[in-house]
Each structure stands twice: as C-alpha cells, then as structure tokens.
C-alpha cells in the first residue's frame, strides 16, 4: 500500500488544516521541514471542511487550500465538504 501525501506552507492557516488532517487521519505522519510541512498517510487522506472550520473558528472553503498548497500526490476527489487523496479506485 502506497502513501499519499500533501505538503503545505507553514503558517497560521495551515496549522489549523494540519490539526484537522491529524484529527481525521489517525495514521498521518507529519514531517516538518523549513517553511513547510509534509503529511503522509497510507493509501487515503481526507481533509474535512467541518473539522478545519472547527479548528479555525471560521468558515472555510476547501478551495482555499490552493493558496497554501505546495505539492500532493494521489487521485483527487473533491466535493464541497471533503477533499480526498487516495490510491484506490
């Protein structure tokens, strides 16, 4: 089983997004690098709008991710509520 990953710039917004990823993906592996954070999860990663909003204390549109994204891998399935990366079909 391969990992999927996402890398985000390190800032106040992404601190909340990363917390949300950790909450929703118990197998997440956090790798802090200069100015960025890389998060690996075996096979499938979900980013939930509701969890991010709870962390941020404000509304969050999942497409805001585009502003902080550095790179990612895996197939993407995006709706208004969830952003999923996976190697499954």
């Amino acid at each position: 089983m391969s990992n999927v990953f996402i890398a985000l710039q390190k800032n106040e917004e992404t601190r909340c997004i990363i917390n949300a990823i950790v909450a929703d993906n118990p197998d997440a592996i956090i790798n802090e690098q200069p100015a960025m954070v890389k998060i690996d999860v075996p096979n499938r990663m979900v980013i939930r709008k509701s969890t991010v909003e709870e962390e941020m204390g404000r509304d969050f549109d999942l497409q805001e991710l585009h502003v902080y994204l550095i790179t990612l891998t895996g197939h993407i399935d995006e709706t208004d509520d969830e952003f999923v990366l996976s190697w499954t079909h």
Binding site: S2, N3, V4, F5, A7, Q9, Q33, P34, A35, M36, Q63, E64, H66, V67, Y68, L69, I70, T71, L72, T73, G74, H75, I76, D77, E78, T79, D80, W87, H89
Partner: protein, 515 residues
Amino acid sequence: MDIKVNKKLGLKERYNLMTRDLAWTPTYQAFKDVYPYMQYEGIKIHDWDKFEDPFRMTMDAYWKYQAEKERKLYAIIDAFTQNNGHLGVTDARYINTLKLFLTGVSPLEYMAHRGFAHVGRAFPGAGPRVACLMQSLDEIRHAQTQIHSMSNYNKHYNGFQNWRHQHDRVWYLSVPKSFFDDAITAGPFEFMIAIGFAFEYVLTNLLFVPFISGAAYNGDMGAMAFGFSAQSDESRHMTLGLEIIKFILEQDPDNLPIVQHWIDKWFWRGYRVLTLVAMMMDYMLPKRVMSWKEAWEIYAEQNGGALFADLARYGVKAPAGLAQACKDKDHLSHQAWNVFYNYAAAAPFHTWAPSEADMKWLSEKYPDTFDKYYRPLWEHYAKEQKEGRRFYNTTLPMLCQTCQIPMFFTEPDDPTKVAYRESDYKGEKYHFCSDGCKNIFDHEPEKYIQSWLPVHQIYQGNCFCPDVDPSKPDFNPLAEVLRWYKITWGEDNLDYADSPDKKNFEQWRVQATGN
C-alpha cells in the same frame, strides 16, 4: 407571495455549468479544420467529455485565489526588499543558486506559458482546455514573479543582468533551453506527456520543493515567496498531468505504446535537466535541507514508485531509465559540480571547492561514494588553489547530441569510466552520454541532428560578436566567446573566493551590524 429560493449549486454542478456547458461543437467549419493537430501523433480520442478535472476549478474561483496569492507574494517581496533582506542570507555563495535559477529555469516558465496556451487551443475538450488555459496563465505569472523577485538581487550582486541574453547562448543553458524547445515542437499530446506528466508530476517536486525549502533555510524570503507561490499552482498542474495520461490511456488501447515511449523519453530528458538541481542541493546551498540522494529517494523512488504501481493497471511500465537514475543518485551531484568547477571561467556564476565542513556532510550523506571517488578530487583542487593554481579548464568538452550536457556521466556500474555511446546517421557520427539519450536520438534522428550544440557552434565561429577579427595576432577565442555571452570577466565568473560578490557581502555584513 412565495419566493422560490434556489439551493446553492454544489461544486460539481458549478464546474459543469461554467466550463463544459460553455463549449460548443463547430458547425460552420469542419471539426478537423478547427482542431488540425489531433490526428498526426496517432493518439485516438473517442469522447473528450470523459476527461475529469478533479479540482473542478472555475475561472471565477481561479482569479479569486490567484489574486490572493499575488497579494501575499508582493507583501513579502516588499518587506524583504525594504528590510535589506539580501544581507540576511546565510552566505553570498547562496546567491549563485538564484543566478542558475534565473538563467536556467525562469525562461522555461515563459515557454511553458506558450506551450499550454498552444495545447489548450489544440484540444477540443472543454475540461482540458480550461485546465490548460489556467496553467498557461500560471506559467507567465511564475516567469514574471521570479524575474521581479530576483531583480532586487541584481541591484547588489553580479551575474543577473543578462539572464535572457545568456539563456539563448551560454553552453550549459542550452541544456534547459533545448529540453523545452524539444517539448514545444512536439505535438500537443506529446507535450502534455512531456511537460504535464513526466516533468510536472514525476520530476517537478525535485526542482521546486528542495530548492524553495533551501531558500527558506538560507534566509532568502524573496525566493521562498515566489517559489511557494508558484508551487501552489503546481499541484493543479500535476493533477492535470495525471488526469490527462489516465484519460489518454482509457480512451483507446492503441495509445499505450505511444504513451510508453513518451514516458521513457521525457523521464530521461527531464532527469538530465535535473542534474543542475542535484549539484545545487549538494554543493551550492551553504545550509542544506537534504541531499539530492534523499530527495531522489522521497520524490522519485517512493512517490514515483506509488504512481507507476497505480498506472500499471493500464499496462504502463516505470520509465526505462529509472533504474539507472536510481544508481546514479550517489554520483550525479559530485560529477556535475566538478564540471562547473572546471568551467567556472565560462559561466555567469561562481563555483568553489567544498570546505572541510562541507565534505564532512557529503561523506555522511554519501557514505558509499564520496570519500572513495570524490573527496580526493576536491582535496587536490583545494591544494592547487592554495598554491595559487586554481584550475580552470580551457578546452571545450564533447557534448551529448540529445541532452547537450558535457560527456561526464560515468557508466552505471563503473563510476571510474566515462560513458560514451554513438550512432551513425546519414554518414555522420553522433555522440551520447547514455543509453537513454542514444535511444531518444535513434527514434527521431531528424529532430536531434538539428541540435544547436554550443561547443560545435563555438568551433564553427558562430559565437563571436560581429566586430571580432580572428586574424589579429592577439585573438583570444575564449575571451571573445565570453564577450558574446555578455559575461564580465572577473565580476560574473571565476571562483567565489576571488569574487567582488564575496568582498561586497563581507563589507555589507560588517556595516549591517554596527557603525
């Protein structure tokens, strides 16, 4: 009165309405006249509507988020400049990575802009057209923001001033230039596999992530800002690359052998260009984030492995050159930096022999190869330099006909033997650095016999200013080539130890910390 409230549209409906539904089928003109480039590469597409753009980005959302990125970027650039950020970098040696980037990479961003504009126009499907349009706009943004960010360094350091002029002329810059010229002169489907898939998806992480993380680590907020801003677009580009290859493979089984050949070819072409990144990571950053070997293992072996395991369901195999590239990871950066050390007189940036502390790090990162093969070389150079004989190579190297890199790569299983390959075509002999480059040539010799090889061009007399007089007794061909390159001797070139950049930086540092 009842007011009917429409439910807000979901992401998928919004995307469909604002992209797919805006396309139409031409009736006044024949389809093949409107889309003339869809047949000749042999790729068969039956239903363009099957293309899925998973980000489902609509143009209005695109403008909104891109504007946000630009505001953030320029706030950082202004702050960096106002705060004399160029003095806060670890060491002025670092600045040379930016010279390499501006002369070698930024012009490719502009070419990518043109390439995706062209391909977006060529594809009949609304989904890929919109994604290509966005990518085309991203790429010109990248070119502009990079030039803008680095213009601040041009006020203080040598070697930045003629980047565009040099991109079309200087020997090692023909490597990235010819790579992109090769892609943009291919058909639209090949361009998408070359740049969208092989470069953006498989290799771009190796260019941007370590480079930009390295910029941050070395105190360069300007480069970090443009890099991350550009990289945030790359995720969209990578996804386009992955979706387009899946789409092409799903459309017709006849597409597989054509696509496999392109994967093999463009993996190797891109990998060769990344040689410059390998030496940048291991030798040019005063503070290093990770070694080339580590970056290769994370992004090419693990991530590339996951990708090709996934694509195996279409019958796609990992690129033919991947195994050799994995063997090379212990050698690539050392061999490349050696060549640039040799030719430091002919490049508009500085090189240097690694210090004892640098070599300690290299030994730790490359336990199987550095001490055995490369440390003795650097110790020899350092000794020569200490005794006033800094080595500058004044003979010109043989270049590979395909990648245009000097022939310094060694045999995959013997790091003491330089690899040579050759092919005969129409009575001429052509030389290659590797099986990968030879195979590319053998498949399309008519394309690659046209290569503009800098060394050949110099010997043919094509790299001098119009006023040159080779019959003069004091004619100095190397000096004349540098004049044509617009490299200022003693300022832009030679060893870092003797450079005005080093002298200035040290003086400014003293001034910055007291009166």
